[in-house]
């Protein structure tokens, strides 16, 4: 069969090289073309899976065979969903994220790099690859903040890097422990999952703790979340779309792998659920104190990822697939929201809700997008978030009983504050902010593109969910 996953990986590499070599004004075109091709390929994969009812696929190439290191890919329903989500977000980012078209070569090269990381990470079949692509993603994001960000970018990017490097150091340590404690010294995720019993129990506990903290930093969960709001405040619009849209999903994806792989996680699940629920409420309360729209959206990521973690700790298929669906929904929604916020900043030169006023008068499309994004964020029916909420909380109800419903309460606070924001800075009052610029067709297409998929997966959830088999 045609090696579609490696082909997919080659495209952004080619794009990266072309952008580096060709003229700067061509870079956006190349980036859009490359992300569009990857999007088309993932769409093809998705349609293929839906028609055949089978999402499993694998490819492998040996590299250092004596150590079991090589490129090996595998695709199942969960990686496929996340891969598809990331290809949508990347295409929207490349097309519409850069309002000012500032430093297009650097921005687009980093997008290509990030696309390589995302394709590789979500399809990796061994931990060695997982680690490599993880770090590529982190480095790409570091430069996105450090090079393309706003005034305080250096401080924020270093903070981001310290947290994320700690995460990848722990990840590497855990991966090496796994490698040395498995009898045949393997990185292969499927092999490790089926032979996990061969690792001594106390070592398993240590590995679990290391991996959990690594993924927890990336998701992020309380108390290791401090890097995220600052990173978002300083990152460019494109950086923010990719950071919350895709990078935080690395951790979520890792958590799903981890909980599927190590039975030791089951004994910790209820404590982790408690942490996740706490993190959700904690982030909501922090969100209620923010006045920068971008920081508000950033904190909503922590809220949502807390709910994702909560779903994973239910340890049943409903909770897990709910978490995946929530990541799908949240990735698209948060990208849409950051795109809208980027437009607001571009249009009015301002992001503070105390200064923005009556934006609906001069920026109808952007304001309505923000409203629709808010609806999708709090799980409005017919948006993908609704399906995710149903699945996650049915799963947690089965595992934790009534307590499993509590994090839903955070959505009330989130929704109320979002409507407060809309009221304060978008609707109403005679005074209104004057726009200093106009947004182009590309941004409108970006809105429509992301919204289309948010509602597609909300109206036709069976497309993805009927693929799930046990």
């Amino acid at each position: 069969m045609f090696p579609i996953i490696s082909a997919m990986l080659v495209i952004p590499i080619v794009g990266f090289v072309l952008i580096a070599l060709l003229k700067e004004r061509m870079s956006k075109g190349i980036a859009v073309a490359s992300t569009a091709i990857v999007f088309a390929l993932t769409l093809g994969l998705l349609i293929y899976s839906i028609t055949t009812g089978n999402a499993n696929l694998s490819e492998s190439y040996s590299y250092i065979s004596s150590f079991g290191i090589g490129l090996s890919f595998r695709l199942g329903i969960i990686p496929l969903i996340l891969l598809f989500m990331s290809s949508i977000v990347l295409l929207a980012t490349a097309l519409s994220g850069n309002h000012e078209n500032s430093r297009p070569r650097a921005a687009n090269m980093l997008i290509m790099l990030f696309q390589i990381a995302s394709i590789g990470l979500f399809t990796s079949a061994n931990f060695f690859m997982f680690f490599i692509f993880w770090d590529i993603g982190v480095i790409a994001m570091f430069f996105m903040i450090n090079v393309l960000g706003s005034a305080n970018r250096r401080q924020a990017s270093i903070k981001f890097l310290i947290y994320e490097l700690l995460a990848s150091a722990l990840l590497l340590l855990a991966i090496l422990m796994i490698y040395f404690y498995t009898p045949v010294h393997s990185f292969d995720i499927a092999y490790i999952t089926s032979n996990i019993a061969m690792i001594p129990a106390n070592v398993q506990g240590a590995i679990f703790a290391l991996l959990f903290i690594a993924f927890m930093i990336n998701m992020p969960l309380f108390p290791l979340h401090h890097w995220l709001p600052d990173a978002h405040t300083e990152a460019s619009t494109q950086g923010s779309m990719l950071l919350s849209g895709i990078l935080t999903k690395y951790g979520g994806f890792g958590m799903i792998l981890l909980f599927g792989m190590m039975p030791v996680s089951h004994s910790w699940a209820s404590y982790i659920a408690l942490l996740a629920a706490f993190s959700t409420f904690y982030a909501v309360f922090l969100l209620m104190r923010q006045t920068d729209v971008k920081r508000i959206i950033a904190y909503s990521t922590i809220v949502e990822m807390g709910i994702v973690m909560f779903g994973i700790t239910a340890l049943n298929s409903l909770g897990t697939y709910g978490a995946v669906y929530a990541m799908l929904s949240h990735g698209l929604v948060v990208a849409l929201m950051f795109l809208a916020v980027g437009s607001l900043k571009h249009l009015f030169g301002e992001r503070d809700i105390n200064i923005l006023r009556g934006t609906v008068l001069n920026a109808k499309a952007t304001t309505y997008t923000f409203l629709i994004g808010t609806l999708a964020m709090v799980g409005f029916p017919l948006s993908a978030g609704f399906i995710a909420d149903i699945l996650i909380f049915l799963g947690t109800l089965q595992s934790f009983g009534l307590l499993g419903l509590i994090p839903l309460g955070a959505l009330i606070l989130l929704g109320s504050y979002m409507y407060f924001v809309i009221n304060r800075s978008m609707l109403a009052t005679r005074e209104h902010s004057r726009n200093v610029d106009y947004i182009g067709m590309q941004q409108r297409i970006g809105y429509a593109f992301l919204m289309f998929f948010i509602f597609l997966f909300g109206v036709l959830p069976f497309l993805l969910l009927n693929l799930v088999k046990l």
Partner: protein, 585 residues
């Protein structure tokens, strides 16, 4: 051809998006056509549609179906909506004369009607939730329709905040019931009877229903929702939105009985009805009086359900639709003729516009419950259903007070003579569609009275029995109320309450206290957020210190190798001395 029953909402959805595309004036006719097609479809419903469930998605261990229910009660609500929608659109043709906003207006209102229709035929929690939440969001858009003004966005936010609470609670209840029963379908949950977590789930359902149906303590958004355009108020208060919560309680009444929750409904209903009546007595805004009156009516329906009398609740449910739509339509006409004046003390109605007055009188008498107008059957039915003398007494007081406030509402604008010539002319040139819709609705109020005895048997319910004595008592009380109001407002010409009556005013007009309580709760959450923010800052500071400490340690170590010979010598001597001391001691 057999279509899924959900297609009844399609004409309105199509009309919604078409009117968004075409914008401007044609939108009104598209919307009207859509609503008429949908009315036709409802009429033909049984022959062309099937209510087989549609599978939405399934995973191992969960399959979610979209189920329609074609029980008589669902069809009844469906017909009410289908009948009111075209009237609202006809009224809007006259009312909505801002060409630039028409596309948006009809888009939102069509979607609103479609959501309510979907809700009306929902046979399971998921389908119901789709309609339920769509209803909430479209009502947010409609209440905040005039978003350029100052108050409508605030009112819209109050509504959506209340509604979000309801949405989340309802989702919780649905999931909880699935966990106990393994299904989302109303029918199969009801057939399975009680389960361990049923009371918990029903409390959640009841609270969610209270948010939509403006029951205490979630009622305060409804009067504020008057900031929306008048046709929207007429629509929202008659057959849609506020009826959703009550309707859901009706559908799930067997579960409420199984969970022993009727007393709770009764108590909340009584409180709500009392709040509605007292505020309506003190309120001067023409539309807000009607809003409080809606709160009272909804409270009475909850009381009827709390008494376990579905027929009584249903009767008021049906008749209230028509008289409330009628009163709002008249109020809209009166306001427009008075150049959008809002306070009843400043409004006036000339005795020359007889047709409008007669239509309004029909609505007023129906609301007060004068035999044989339809309101009578609603109110007397509930009073006769009461199971204890206390409940009966409270209901009688409420009935008495409601006849006072509605006559007050009606008489104060009548007693003045026109001061400005323009207003008289305005009454003569009121848009024809507005008046036409008002008169048709007035006819429907009368018709509903005749229909009353025909409707309930069709629902396979026996009409609530109204003993002659109860009917006589109800009528007497209403007539006394009318006389009191007549004497007070036409003879004594009472004006606004003065400072001397401030205590009485505050007791009646208790929405101020409710609003204060709301902002107290909001402030409480803000205080928690403030505390959390402080904690968060300190946690980060602790991390920072922890992370920096190796660097501080390194700085200490660096001193040892900085090449300062005299420091080395000093350290050497000190060290030797220390060593000596240790050795000696």
């Amino acid at each position: 051809m057999v279509l899924p029953i959900f297609t009844v909402v399609l004409p309105l959805v199509v009309a919604a998006f078409l009117s968004l595309i075409v914008k401007g004036k044609p939108a009104r006719y598209i919307a009207l056509a859509g609503s008429l097609v949908s009315l036709g479809m409802v009429a033909l419903l049984l022959s062309i549609t099937s209510n087989a469930p549609i599978s939405w998605f399934s995973l191992p261990g969960l399959s979610v179906m979209l189920t329609a229910s074609t029980q008589p009660i669902n069809l009844l609500l469906l017909q009410l909506i289908a009948a009111i929608t075209p009237l609202i659109f006809i009224y809007s043709i006259g009312f909505m004369d801002v060409p630039s906003e028409q596309g948006r207006y009809y888009f939102e209102i069509c979607l609103f009607a479609a959501a309510m229709m979907l809700f009306a035929i929902a046979g399971d929690f998921i389908t119901m939730l789709i309609g339920w939440e769509l209803l909430g969001v479209t009502s947010y858009l409609l209440i905040g329709f005039w978003y350029k003004k100052e108050r409508p966005p605030l009112a819209a936010r109050k509504a959506i905040t209340t509604i979000i609470i309801g949405d989340v609670l309802m989702l919780m209840a649905a999931l909880l019931l699935w966990n106990s029963y393994g299904t989302f379908s109303f029918a199969s949950i009801i057939s399975q009877g009680a389960a361990p977590l049923l009371p918990m789930a029903m409390v959640l359902v009841a609270l969610a229903a209270f948010t939509k149906s403006a029951q205490f303590p979630f009622h305060e958004w409804l009067p504020d929702a008057m900031e929306g355009p008048t046709p929207v108020s007429a629509f929202l208060h008659s057959s849609t939105m506020v009826k959703a919560g009550i309707f859901l309680i009706m559908v799930l009444l067997p579960l409420f009985i199984a969970a022993n929750m009727l007393p709770m409904l009764l108590i909340i209903g009584v409180i709500t009805a009392l709040i509605g009546v007292t505020n309506a007595l003190a309120e001067n805004h023409i539309k807000r009086v009607l809003a409080y009156s809606t709160i009272e009516d909804l409270g009475l329906m909850t009381v009827a359900l709390g008494l376990g009398s579905l027929p009584a609740a249903l009767t008021l449910f049906v008749v209230q639709t028509f008289y409330k739509a009628l009163l709002f339509m008249s109020a809209g006409s009166i306001m427009r003729a008075n150049n959008n004046e809002e306070s009843i003390t400043n409004l006036f109605v000339p005795s020359t516009s007889k047709a409008l007055i007669i239509a309004t009188i029909i609505g007023v008498l129906s609301l007060a419950g004068i035999f044989p107008l339809s309101g009578f059957f609603g109110k007397a039915g509930i009073e006769s259903a009461s199971n204890s003398i206390i409940v009966y007494a409270i209901l009688s007081v409420i009935g008495f007070a409601s006849s006072i406030y509605i006559f007050r509402w009606f008489l104060i604008p009548l007693r003045k003579q026109a001061q400005k010539r323009g207003v008289l002319a305005n009454f003569r040139t009121l848009p024809k569609p507005m008046l036409a819709a008002t008169y048709i609705t007035a006819a429907l109020v009368v018709y509903a009275s005749l229909l009353y005895l025909g409707v309930l048997p069709w629902l396979s319910l026996t009409p609530a029995p109204i003993p002659i004595a109860a009917a006589a008592a109800e009528t007497t009380i209403t007539l006394i109320g009318l006389s009191v109001a007549y004497v007070a407002y036409m003879r004594l010409r009472l004006k606004k309450m003065s400072e001397a009556h401030r205590a009485a005013y505050l007791a009646l007009y208790n929405n101020l206290a409710v609003n204060a309580a709301y902002s107290l709760i909001a402030r409480l959450f803000n205080a928690i957020a403030w505390v959390v923010e402080g904690i968060d800052r300190n946690i980060y500071r602790a991390f920072r210190t922890g992370a920096i400490s190796p660097i501080l340690f390194a700085r200490l170590l660096r001193r040892m190798e900085d090449g300062q010979a005299n420091a080395y010598v000093a350290a050497f001597i000190l060290g030797t001395l220390l060593l000596l001391i240790i050795l000696v001691v």
